[in-house]
């Protein structure tokens, strides 16, 4: 079960064995702990800057990685403008690809 590549190889079964070992170790460590440590205390609740969580609050899909997305936003906005949704632009970029392909094929 070895996928030989040019440099080395990749064996998923060996990886799985290693992963199983790690999991076993983790389970071992976990089982050493106390089950009831956090049950019933307020530590179970999410921490929102010390405020009480408002009723029905939910961390939606758009909140995850918020900073990551915001950091990328200046770059992505330019790309977003590039996807204008306008048929003539689609054809225009196709013509650009065509011109590139024609020029490359001439070599």
């Amino acid at each position: 079960m070895r996928l030989v590549t040019g440099e080395g190889y990749w064996s998923p079964l060996a990886w799985l064995a290693a992963a199983a070992g790690v999991l076993l170790l983790a389970g071992l460590l976990w089982s050493r702990g106390r089950r009831d440590w956090k049950r019933g205390t307020e530590e179970e609740l999410p921490f929102l800057s010390g405020e009480a969580a408002p009723e029905g609050a939910r961390v939606g899909g758009q909140h995850l990685y918020w900073g990551f997305v915001e950091g990328l936003r200046p770059y992505v906005e330019r790309l977003r403008a590039f996807h204008s949704g306008f048929v003539a632009d689609y054809v225009a970029w196709f013509v650009v690809v065509l011109a590139m392909a024609l020029l490359v094929a001439m070599v």
């Binding site: 949704g85 306008f86 003539a88 054809v91 013509v95």
Partner: protein, 115 residues
């Protein structure tokens, strides 16, 4: 005699159709542009099959002793014409449905899918 004029005219058609697609804003005009490209390609195919002084490639009542033009491009063009009609019909169906929803044929306004 006429040189390569037919070929050049076909290419002009293709370029004209591409220009229509790039510069026009009306959806039906875009379909017209597609039809123009298709006309150009069809003409190109048939022009490829022509032999100077050739006759129709049909033996029924054929004049004896004359070369025939090449049949294959004509067969290909038949296929291509029907494909063009199919494309046109489907594209126009889309246009009609878009009109019913949006009430416009301006491609600049039909761009809900963007970004």
């Amino acid at each position: 005699m006429t040189g390569n004029l037919p070929f050049v005219v076909c290419m002009v058609f293709v370029a004209l159709g591409l220009w229509t697609l790039l510069a026009k804003r009306n959806l039906i005009k875009l379909v017209i542009g597609l039809t123009l490209i298709e006309n150009g390609v069809n003409l190109f195919l048939v022009a490829l099959g022509y032999v100077q002084g050739g006759a129709v490639p049909i033996y029924t009542y054929a004049p004896p002793g004359v070369r025939m033009v090449l049949p294959t491009p004509q067969a290909l063009t038949l296929t291509s014409i029907v494909i063009g009609l199919a494309t046109t019909a489907l594209a126009l169906a889309f246009v009609v449905v878009i009109w019913r929803h949006r009430g416009t044929l301006d491609a600049r306004k039909v761009r809900e899918l963007r970004g």
